[in-house]
Amino acid sequence: MPVLRIPTPLRAYTNGQSNINVAGANISEALTDLTAQYPTIKPHLFNEGGELRPFVNLFVGENNIKDLQGVSTPIKDEDKLVLIPSIAGG
């Protein structure tokens, strides 16, 4: 199953879990599985219309899904998905 890496600021919504196995053949299905496992993370990733929020950057391996096929990007079992957070500390 692909593994999704959760950034520190969002771990409050995944019971502190940093790596979560997500089932699905593409990004959309994987995120549906994620939000089924951890419902309170949903509003932080999706807007009211069900679209990924613009500040959410999701990478498959080293590529941004925005540069691939967005949420339709197919994924394989061995893929590593990374959510890149906006952080501002200095």
Partner: protein, 383 residues
């Protein structure tokens, strides 16, 4: 014409001169170059120390804060003897002690849309070491408009990010983050904490990237983002591409001048002010101290459980902000309630959440438990 090195400078920089990639000409380049560092805090400390030591001819420091005891766990350019002094002056003294042969220009003012272009225009490179989203977007846009590289780094708890945003050759900060996160989603280091050594690791990488760009050597992190996690000791890289729809550096950019960045981000451009829920929604610590004598008030503490070990108010119910939405059933909307956290920011967001769920009798403790520790119960520690 690059400046010559004096006999003293040749000795001082001899370990650079021995590296073929730097050499005498590279060191002369550094002497001729200038770097503007936004923020003289966690990242600004190692960045300015190493750039000064490396012999960058002119370094600008922008910060309007004063040194506080709580800075010294990570801001190693300052010291106990400079607590209460201006950060830029504290840093300047240290840097000139390290390297008296360079010029340090200080800007003891907030970096804003009004002064940023004027301050930044004469520097070769900009280093973003600020602590908030408005100043990060401002720093990016200034770099794009002036055509300068923006060496970016940011930190949170155990996580760090580093990149070189240079719109002439690759993506800018807005290509990756077109919009800031909603206010309150991402805690600042003042709220969420940061491992003291983290800005040392990340700031040193940031200084390395700046030196590479100024010397024209190696492969700077243009079009790449480094993601570091101290707990896993992991360094991951992702590819960044120019966003064709970028509003500042894309082909159809519609932002042509600096904007109001606080409005854009919905948060103030500093991370340590006492939080407020706005007029009519706050209660001060002195008011609360009076009210608890006569009224029965429910106290709701929305800090994380480990913070309760530092300081706590008696009889307060603890529900961390992240769990509040899911645990509303534990609260009664008929109760008069005062919600608090460390300094009033998280509790202000908690109040919004409660208000939208129909809780109408809630007030936010302005300044949080820290204000209580300052003004009411001075036996409580500040943190």
């Amino acid at each position: 014409m690059l400046p010559e090195l004096s006999r003293d400078e040749i000795l001082r920089y001899s370990r650079h001169l021995l590296i073929p990639e730097v050499g005498l000409d590279g060191q002369r380049k550094l002497k001729n170059s200038s770097a503007l560092i936004i923020g003289t805090g966690g990242l600004g400390s190692p960045v300015s120390l190493y750039l000064a030591a490396a012999g960058i001819g002119r370094i600008g420091l922008v910060d309007y804060d004063v040194v506080d005891s709580s800075n010294l766990q990570r801001q190693v350019i300052h010291g106990t003897s400079t607590i209460g002094k201006l950060k830029v002056e504290s840093a300047k003294t240290k840097l000139l002690d390290l390297n008296p042969g360079i010029q340090i220009d200080v800007y003891n003012e907030p970096y804003t849309s009004e002064n940023a272009l004027r301050i930044a225009k004469d520097y070769d490179i900009i280093l973003d070491g600020t602590d908030n989203f408005p100043t990060r977007y401002l720093t990016n846009d200034v770099a794009v408009f002036l055509g300068k590289p923006n060496v970016y780094a940011s930190i949170y708890r155990f996580d760090g990010q580093v990149s070189v945003f240079y719109a002439k050759e690759g993506p800018c900060y807005r290509c990756l983050f077109p919009e800031p996160p909603p206010p309150g989603l991402v805690p600042s280091c003042a709220e969420g904490g940061v491992l003291g050594v983290l800005p040392g690791t990340i700031g040193t990488l940031q200084a390395t990237e700046a030196l590479k760009v100024l010397l024209g050597i190696g492969e700077p992190l243009i079009g790449k983002l480094l993601l570091y996690n101290a707990l896993d000791m992991s360094f991951d890289f992702v590819k960044l591409k120019k966003n064709p729809n970028c509003r500042v550096c894309g082909p159809n950019a519609d932002i042509k001048e600096l904007i109001d960045y606080e409005e854009f981000c919905g948060v103030p451009s500093h991370d340590h002010e006492e939080g407020s829920a706005g007029a009519g929604h706050d209660i001060t610590v002195t008011e609360l101290a009076e009210r608890v004598k006569t009224n029965h008030l429910k106290l709701l503490d929305v800090r994380e459980p480990h913070e309760l070990q530092i300081s706590a108010l008696p009889n307060a119910v603890n529900i961390p902000l992240g769990q509040l939405a899911a645990r509303l059933s534990e609260l009664d909307s008929a109760d008069e309630m005062v919600i608090f956290c460390k300094s009033g920011s998280r509790s202000a967001r908690g109040l919004e959440l409660l208000a939208s769920a129909g809780f109408k009798k809630v007030k936010n403790l302005k300044g949080g438990i820290n204000a209580w520790a300052k003004e009411v119960d001075t036996n409580l520690p500040l943190y």
